[in-house]
């Protein structure tokens, strides 16, 4: 057991963890921004905008994330880290676009009319009336999507050989052959993902509580 928990091995895994967090964070920030734009476009009254968003969202989200990673890497010939970020942003922005659309739809039309009658313009209605309520509603689904991204970055080692957490752990498993060593390595990796994701879901549960539910 002690032969696994050496400073070198831990450092090795930490470098992988940093890569996992880096790719997840960048992809999530970009996807959230693009997803919000797509969600609003999909609900807009301007037909071309609506159509573009609908086509993008439906095509991208109904094809596996893993396939998008292959496409970006092999067909578009991107370098591995950029390919990872691009593929995850491509897929997740569509997923978030759909989540945002659902959230926007859940806000009653009466509120929009009420606000418009009070002199709010379209942008103000969106900014002050719809988005804050929609955001609160979609937090749980959004967080579940965030967690999915963190988990699915584990595909990157097998497809584009990025040495993220799963990659580093797989390399280490190749160096140790005893049953308990491999078992411990699986435990470490699973626990690390678990801590990140369980933490993420609890932080956002707290945020949602503080925002209050109407």
């Amino acid at each position: 057991m002690a032969d696994i928990f050496t400073p070198n091995n831990m450092k090795f895994l930490l470098v992988g963890l940093r890569m996992t967090l880096y790719i997840s964070a960048i992809s999530l920030i970009l996807s959230t921004i693009i997803g919000c734009v797509l969600g609003v476009m999909r609900n807009s009254k301007i037909l071309p905008l609506k159509a573009v968003a609908a086509v993008y969202i439906e095509i991208v989200r109904n094809i596996p994330n893993l396939l998008w990673i292959f496409v970006v890497f092999l067909v578009l010939r991107m370098k591995s880290t950029q390919a990872g970020i691009t593929a995850f942003t491509l897929f997740t922005s569509a997923a978030i676009g759909e989540i945002v659309r659902g959230g926007l739809n859940s806000i009653g039309h009466g509120q929009i009319e009420a606000a418009r009658s009070q002199g709010f313009n379209a942008w103000q209605v969106l900014r002050y009336i719809i988005l804050p309520q929609a955001f609160r509603k979609i937090i749980p689904t959004l967080v579940s999507q965030f967690i999915t991204v963190v988990k699915d970055t584990s595909f990157l080692w097998s497809v584009v050989a990025i040495q993220e957490l799963t990659g580093k752990a797989t390399i280490l498993m190749g160096r140790y052959y005893r049953v308990n060593q491999v078992f411990i390595l699986y435990g470490i990796v699973a626990l690390t993902y678990f801590i990140i994701n369980f933490g993420l879901s609890n932080v956002f549960r707290h945020v949602q509580k503080r925002l209050g539910t109407w």
């Binding site: 109904n62 094809i63 596996p64 292959f70 078992f183 994701n197």
Partner: protein, 226 residues
Amino acid sequence: MGPFAWFKWEALFADLPQFFRGFGYTFLLSVAALALALVLGIIFGLLCEVQFAPFRAISRVYVEFFQNTPLLIQVFFLYNGLPLIFGLKLSVTTIGIIGVGLYHGAYITEVVRAGIGSVSRGQLEAGLSQGFTYTQVMLEIILPQAVRVMLPPLTNQAVNLIKNTSVVAIISGADIMFTAKSWSGWNQYYGPAFVAAGILYFVICFPLAKLATHLENKVHGGAVNG
């Protein structure tokens, strides 16, 4: 000589039966994994509702563990870990069914739990006071009503499950993804291979996703006031 040159498409059309076999494999794997996930989801979902605290705890641990760790790690464990640690070697298909089934079973547990929670507790008490047993109340009163609420998220889960069966490609299961990967790895015609694979996934997932949205609108009657 772009990635989508015509002769590459001709090669694809010639080998189309291979892709259809991959489609069949993905389809059957999805059906089997979904059946397992549903059984697990219903069992653990009902366990969430029982009085006996240890059962509720088991259900919680199951959901949190499988939702918060990557499917791929779970599949790797079944593929590489089990033979080494327990001397148990399963076929790739079995691993696909068990891995994807266990993983989505956790998500379906949450769907079932929310569905049961959507039916008012008073009905359970009313049923019990009328002499129904707990099982009868659940099966005959609560679940039929809960199903209406559960159907849209269940359909969404089915879509996610189908997409996630693609992980078996990483352990060489003969699904759509693996067919595209190995066929194009051999002749380098990546463009047509991934377009074909994308279309094959899309034709199953898109109608189901549309159905989920339709069911959702039916349950909520369109927009609800926030």
